[in-house]
């Protein structure tokens, strides 16, 4: 019974690891690396430690989602520029008002 459970656990883990490999393969395929570099990573994969593979997969995933969500960053930057310009206009409005008031006070000196 124990041996059966052991085998089942191992198969589950192995299946999940294969899924990780499939995921890395997909992300590597979607990455903008040159084809030969992708080939090189695949070639190096058996020599890499498990930790390296894990980190490499995470890097690829982060890069992938950042690419896919770049549109959000663009929208954000546009908003930021709008705010910057609006802030500048606020500043100018304040200065305009200061000038207006100074011009009015100027009349005081003629009395």
């Amino acid at each position: 019974m124990t041996q059966t459970n052991n085998n089942q656990d191992f198969e589950d883990v192995k299946r999940d690891l294969q899924l990780q490999g499939r995921k890395i393969a997909l992300l590597l395929y979607e990455s903008p690396m040159p084809a030969e570099i992708k080939e090189a990573w695949i070639t190096l994969m058996p020599t890499m430690t498990l930790d390296q593979i894990d980190r490499f997969g995470t890097i690829l995933e982060n890069y992938f989602v950042m690419q896919q969500t770049a549109e959000i960053d663009a929208a954000y930057r546009a908003l930021a520029e709008e705010i910057a310009a609006a802030a500048q206009n606020l500043e100018l409005e304040n200065e305009e008002k200061l000038l207006e008031q100074i011009e009015i006070v100027k009349k005081l000196e003629s009395l």
């Binding site: 990780q20 989602v65 954000y76 500043e91």
Partner: protein
């Protein structure tokens, strides 16, 4: 801290002098009577957080202080007696008075075991002050002190109450003099004294942590003014002319308005400073919002709040962002600000009232209006600052949520694709490879089996799966021959191996040991230039990926997947925030703004520089000279860099387009130009220059005030700044001083770096020479919000308005400067800085100045700093 016997204060304050019978007591009693009749005594219990050194603030002409430390086994208290002796007594006589008073309050009792009392006497002024502790075996208790504080006007109050009382009394005395008379009959000095007093008191808010000090200063200043100008009835002709008087005199001269306006600002640094700081606050807040360093913290905070709850997917997130933008455009506070045109109507009403007030009233009204305009300008600036801050915070908030939602949607789509493409469980996707192995390791440990072989096996499982699936995705039926594919693969592997190997060895990126493969360098060298570049690209790609990972932030392996998302999000969002804030900072370059502001107020560029120095801003001339402005974490830009073509196209139709803003700015200048008399209108200045083309300024050259607008309005002629004054002709220099004493060159260099790292803002130049003659030098600067308060014989630094970082600088009898920052939280940092700064000043003084720092006036802050700037910092040029 000492305890304060507040409970018995009120009753004890009314106590009378005890009747004494011995000859000595009779003498004491006689003197006590004289004391009561002649002197005003106030007893003060310092606040718990008040340091003894603050006693020095009470010292002023005609006053003497006596500090008590009473102690016994059950009670310990500190008292400070402030005796107003008047100016009729010499310091020696004051000493006698205080000693006799001290004797009055000391009971002839046996000290209790283990207790004692300290008696501290302070009297006199400045260097003449006698300041010593005298140990005594006599026990001084709180009750004893109170029982003998028999002055009819004696009070037992805490510091703040006493000051409040003094403020009220001073106000009453002022009102006696001023309120019974029509405003028109008041002298300008009397009126200015009353206005100044009210203004100072109003500015001291209840929640100010430095309220006691501010109150003390206000009371001291107004009493000095009263003593000089009101109580002594001194002729105005022999009194120093105050800034408001100068303004009034200027008004009488019937000079053109612009000249008077400029002179008013110039003669009254406080007005100019207020105008300056009002705008500066807004810009500084925008450009320094949370600081770049704090942006990640902000994002992390927001991330923690919002978590992964963003809904609506990528599309919904973008829609939310657009909705947020619309909300921003419809900000009610902005509309209300624009509707606020009542100020003009109010001024028109004021104008008609002034006509009825006569000449004296007109002068008063002019000053009032000038002050109100400046105040309102500052209030609006503060409001604008809050609006912009709110927008940026909302933007960061919105972007964070949107980005999280987008990433979540993307990952879900990816995982769904993987799940749908095979019979896999979601658990396997959400875990990292190490987590899966960890799970298996736990199972194995339960069964006490070996792991290493299994881990190696798992690595092979992943690698085999990658190879298999990538082949399916990329190669399909295979368009290349097997030999070709192997050759390409080997070449690429060598490139990666080489560069990754170098990275692992030299830079410690920790991406594994590829040294066995690095031995194939000769093969790599045969790849050629293209292969070489490809190798560099591979390394950079890896390096870039590495940069996106912060493994330490991921923390617990149980959070691996979430941590990956956080890390990835954080990097991208931080990058976006840096880029956008950098652009905001670029668009709102404070120095460029200040050039324009200085122009409007009629300042020369040099004068604008001085103003900016006073406000803690780098000089405008640096921008005019095209110096590079660098923002941390963002691309380096120049102050005059024009917007990119893409950005121009994006906002071509917007009222917020840079061209539209420049046109509006030009219109403001044109209005100002029309408001000025003909004598102030001059020809168009030189053509704009770029950062790379701008020559360095010489002593006789005036720096260009500002860059030309890219699309100047034809009706907007430029206004040249007035001819420089004699003071303005001094070249803008920074202090150069030697600091000798470090033992080696490395330490000297490190000292420079430490100073540079510790401070920012106004620049100084410091050179450090070690004993062997090696030299290191560099620019350093005072912290932007450092203030220097200078009194007779002492000066106090306040850094960042926080008293924790404060220290007292005093001139010793031998002319050297001593720094005492006391003990307390975080003062070592300031002490280190002040030591260096003092060394610089000492060295400079020994070379350049023969007088001491008493030349600093009692008016703190700006005058003292101006003195340093004009007399210390401009006498020696940068080498």
């Amino acid at each position: 801290m000492s305890k304060t016997p507040e409970g018995s204060a009120a009753a004890a304050a009314e106590a009378k002098v005890e009747t004494v019978q011995t000859p000595e007591d009779k003498e004491i009693a006689a003197y006590a009577k004289k004391f009561q009749e002649n002197f005003e005594l106030n007893l003060v219990i310092p606040a718990d957080d008040e340091e003894w050194s603050n006693t020095v603030d009470f010292r002023r002409e005609g006053y003497a202080t006596l500090d008590f430390l009473t102690s016994d086994a059950s009670n310990e208290a500190r008292f400070r007696a402030i005796v107003h002796c008047g100016k009729d007594y010499t310091p020696e006589e004051q000493a006698e008075i205080m000693q006799r008073f001290a004797k009055m309050v000391v009971l002839q009792e046996e000290p209790k075991p283990g207790t004692g009392a300290g008696l501290r006497l302070k009297y006199g002024e400045g260097k003449k002050a006698f300041n010593d502790w005298t140990d005594t075996e006599e026990v001084i208790t709180a009750e004893n002190v109170l029982a003998h504080s028999a002055s009819p006007r004696g009070r037992m109050r805490n510091t703040e109450d006493l000051l409040a009382l003094t403020v009220s009394q001073t106000r009453l005395e002022l009102e006696k003099i001023t309120t019974d008379k029509p405003v028109a009959e008041l002298t300008a000095t009397q009126l200015a004294a009353r206005e100044d007093f009210d203004y100072r008191v109003e500015r001291i808010t209840d929640d100010s942590p430095r309220r006691p000090e501010q109150l003390k200063r206000a009371v001291r200043d107004i009493e000095q003014r009263m003593q000089q100008t009101i109580i002594d009835n001194a002729p105005e002709s022999v009194l120093p002319m105050s800034a408001p008087e100068k303004i009034a005199k200027d008004l009488e001269k019937k000079q053109p308005f612009s000249e008077r306006m400029t002179k008013a600002f110039r003669d009254n640094p406080e007005l100019a400073k207020q105008a300056a700081l009002a705008t500066l606050n807004m810009i500084g807040s925008v450009t320094g919002l949370k600081g770049y360093i704090e942006v990640p913290r902000y994002l992390r905070q927001r991330f923690a709040v919002h978590g992964f709850l963003g809904m609506g997917g990528l599309k919904g997130a973008i829609e939310d962002a657009i909705a947020a933008k619309q909300n921003l455009d419809g900000d009610k506070s902005i509309k209300s600000l624009r509707r606020d045109l009542s100020a003009r109507n109010r001024l028109e009403d004021k104008l008609s009232m002034v006509r009825e007030a006569g000449p004296a009233g007109a002068k008063t009204a002019y000053r009032e209006e000038l002050q109100k305009i400046i105040d309102e300008f500052g209030v609006r600036g503060d409001h604008n600052k809050k609006v912009v801050e709110g927008r940026i915070k909302l933007l960061l908030d919105c972007n964070t949520t949107t980005k999280i939602t987008g990433i979540q949607a993307t990952k879900e789509a990816l995982n769904s694709f993987l799940v749908a493409s095979g019979a896999y469980g979601l658990r396997g996707i959400s875990m990292g490879a190490l987590d899966i192995v960890g799970r298996y390791r736990d199972l194995k440990q339960e069964r006490r089996n070996s792991l290493e072989k299994d881990v190696s096996l798992f690595r092979d499982v992943i690698a085999a799966s990658v190879v298999k699936n990538f082949r399916e995705l990329a190669l399909g039926g295979g368009q290349e021959s097997r030999a070709e594919r192997n050759l390409t693969r080997a070449q690429a592997a060598m490139r990666i191996a080489r560069w990754v190997g170098i990275a692992a060895t030299v830079e410690g990126v920790g991406f594994g040991d590829f040294k066995p493969l690095a031995g194939a360098d000769k093969i790599v060298e045969n790849i050629g230039r293209g292969g070489y570049n490809a190798g560099i690209g591979a390394y950079r790609l890896l390096e870039g990926f590495q940069g996106k990972m912060s493994w330490s932030e991921i923390g617990d392996r149980g959070l691996t997947t979430a941590g990956h998302m956080v890390t990835g999000l954080g990097e991208a969002a931080i990058h976006g925030a840096k880029e956008s804030l950098s652009r905001i900072a670029h668009n709102l370059t404070p120095r460029e703004h200040w050039e324009r502001m200085g122009q409007k107020l009629g300042f020369s560029p040099e004068q604008t520089d001085k103003l900016l120095h006073g406000a803690g801003v780098a000089p405008a001339t640096e921008v005019a000279h095209g110096n590079v402005v660098e923002h941390k974490g963002a691309a380096t830009t120049t102050a005059h860099e024009t917007p990119t073509k893409a950005a121009t196209e994006v906002h071509a139709k917007s009222t917020n387009h840079p061209d539209a803003i420049e046109a509006r700015r030009a219109a403001i200048q044109a209005r100002l130009h029309r408001a000025l008399p003909e004598t102030q209108k001059v020809s168009t200045p030189e053509a704009p220059h770029t950062a790379t083309e701008t020559p360095k300024p010489t002593k006789t050259e005036l720096p260009e005030a500002s860059a030309e607008p890219t699309a100047p309005a034809p009706e907007a002629p430029k206004i040249e700044t007035p001819a420089p004054s004699v003071a303005a002709e001094k070249p803008h220099t920074t202090i150069t001083a030697e600091y000798v004493g470090t033992r080696n060159h490395d330490r000297a260099s490190k000292l420079i770096e430490d100073i540079k790292a510790a401070v920012n803002g106004e620049k100084y130049h410091i050179g450090v020479t070690d004993v062997a003659g090696h030299r290191a030098e560099g620019d350093f600067a005072l912290p932007g919000r450092t203030s220097l308060e200078v009194g007779d014989g002492h000066a106090t630094f306040f850094v960042d308005t926080d008293r924790v970082f404060s220290g007292e600088m005093s001139v010793q009898d031998d002319g050297s400067i001593a720094i005492d920052v006391g003990d307390g939280r975080g003062k070592q940092k300031l002490a280190s800085f002040l030591e260096r700064f003092t060394a610089v000043i000492n060295k400079y003084r020994s070379q350049q100045l023969s007088d001491d720092f008493s030349i600093f006036s009692t008016e703190p802050r700006m005058q003292a700093i101006d003195f340093m700037r004009q007399n210390l910092l401009t006498k020696q040029e940068v080498k």
